[in-house]
Symmetry: C2
Subunit: 358 residues, 2 copies
């Protein structure tokens, strides 16, 4: 049995508890997980014994070559093609991904169903399977993380006053691709000075002048798998206050890593980083959650937020990324990708975390 067939079978083994006979898989990442298809328009109808894959004519040749499952090429909305199979096979309880199916698509589906068939919303079934990575997936994430850190090293040593945020971002993404990545896993963040206080800043034409913070948040996609890393450096020797904030964020990040172990909840990791920042009176300046799972998507379950009850398990790949953001002054974030192991966790990101002054 191939990896894809195994995954389909594992998902199908949960049909009974979800009260469905089949599942329509619409999320692109879930479709890729179950079939290998990496185009922009694919749909799967998963039965306990078969994987029906639907796409449009642009992908006919590619799908026939490498997609796992029975390929149907259709014109028009793919859900319409799926209802034809549903009718022919006389399927009744049709599960669909409620978080990834628009109201419009579900209405189309409903209109096309035969008498006696009904739609059943399903949430997170495939995503839950995806949380724990297989050995093959872990190798891909390792490769993606290594590549990402190598791209960072190549670029950071050439950063100096006079270059623009945009130049740095362009160079990072170029190096990723030259190292074999398909693309960045998300828009690279390069934010200098007070712009580092915007957690999701776009790079601008601002030219570095020296004596300022520089935050870089970057990730690569390699064979579909993501990496994610943030480093904050200082051009010139950092002032004392900035050093103190950096030390607090690093301490929080290490406390988060320390809290990662199988059996712990995702929420407990988030609380560990917050507790540390609270010691320094900085917890209010930490405006997002501590991290997130990553794999075929850059953000996938679990979410490492205060109240997340997901139990961490060996094979989960997650980020640990506390930050402190002071409007008008600047922000510092430190982020690694880590792997939950049977005894705790392994930090996959090899890039050093001492406060770098360049």
């Amino acid at each position: 049995m191939t990896d894809f067939e195994q995954r389909c079978q594992s998902v199908a083994s949960h049909f009974a508890e979800n009260k469905v006979d089949v599942l329509l898989v619409a999320s692109p990442a879930n479709v890729r997980y179950l079939s290998g298809f990496d185009g922009s328009n694919g749909l799967i109808l998963l039965t306990p014994s078969e994987t029906h894959f639907f796409t449009d004519p642009r992908y006919a040749t590619a799908a026939a070559r490498y997609v796992s499952g029975k390929v149907h090429v259709a014109k028009g909305p793919l859900v319409n093609a799926a209802t034809i199979v549903i009718k022919r096979k006389k399927l009744k309880k049709i599960g669909f991904e409620a978080a990834h199916t628009s109201v419009q698509a579900s209405q189309r589906l409903k209109d096309g169903l035969p008498l006696g068939a009904s739609l059943v919303p399903v949430v997170g079934l495939v995503e839950e399977r995806r949380m724990v990575k297989s050995a093959v997936e872990i190798e891909k994430i390792r490769g993606s993380v290594r590549l990402n850190s190598e791209a960072y090293q190549r670029v950071i040593r050439r950063v100096r006053p006079g270059v623009r945020e945009l130049d740095i971002a362009a160079e990072i993404e170029y190096q990723m691709k030259m190292l074999g990545a398909e693309k960045p896993a998300f828009d690279t963040i390069v934010a200098a000075k007070d712009r580092s206080a915007l957690p999701h800043a776009h790079p601008t034409g601002y030219r570095l002048v020296g004596n300022e913070l520089l935050l870089i948040d970057m990730g690569a996609s390699l064979e579909g798998y993501s990496s994610d890393m943030t480093r904050t450096v200082h051009l010139g020797p950092p002032p004392k206050r900035i050093k103190q904030i950096y030390a607090a964020v690093l301490e929080a990040q290490l406390a988060g890593i320390d809290a990662v172990r199988p059996g712990a909840t995702a929420g407990s990791v988030d609380r560990a980083t917050r507790r540390t920042l609270k010691k320094y009176g900085m917890e209010k300046a930490f405006v997002h959650s501590t991290g997130h799972g990553l794999g075929l998507e850059i953000h996938e379950p679990p979410r490492l937020g205060k109240n997340d009850k997901t139990i961490l398990a060996p094979g989960m790949a997650i980020t640990i990324e506390p930050g402190v953001y002071l409007e008008g002054q600047g922000g510092i974030r430190i982020e690694d990708t880590v792997l939950v192991t049977s005894t705790g966790c392994e930090i996959l990101t090899p890039t050093p975390k001492e406060f770098l002054s360049i």
Copy 2:
């Protein structure tokens, strides 16, 4: 009144015919169109007189700086925050974007609505407003198209046997960014030899050897606005058969451009390109539609497909991109971005279309 306020007012002027009092705007491109917000998590509640914008704390500072409308920063699902405003203002008929709202989000909304309020699905209301571009938007598209062609010129002159598809794609995207683009508008396609027959091929590690087709489909995003261009070149002198196919595709592309005029339907442009390819017995090898609108999204209405009845109007920006794909042999596509004018159309793409042998 600002551009954003004008756009909101124009959308709101269609509330009555859609039988809604307000509209929840969930599509990221529609949110950007109405508010300027370009982050990943935003929602608008548009009333006839107000724009309520919702986002999470990561974007609080950025939104306060540049988003048009009243900014609400919320933790958790944004629809929950929107229902609070709906209750306070005693709103009744709540329109929502059925094509951009998941079944899960609409259920959350429903659960949060006060007694007497109801959800009304709305499709395409903002997208229809977006089809005809304003003078400011046209200038941005012009800039994006120019930048894209300049990046192509910089790279194509350095293409030779020995380079990989991946190198070419990485160099194209690097040049785009150095010229000021935020990012590619889509994953750049660089497909050599028989891989050019896959309309949506990903670049691979394949090294050019010479005497082969090379298809490049690329677009930039500049200030949010897309460009889109495809050129197919031949390494070394092309065989006669390839020259014939190229000539047929170019004739089809020119016929498509010729059919673009205000008052014509989008479908008639598609039929014009197909008719030309049919003369040469190649219409079955043209497996996608003739083109699409572009703007804040790389694919937006109108779709230039056989049966599309959209009436073309001055200010629409569309692509014309017929192609012929022969499995195992190769594919040729030629694509320009054009602007519908009051008398016909203007080809925005400045890059020559003679068959280039390099």
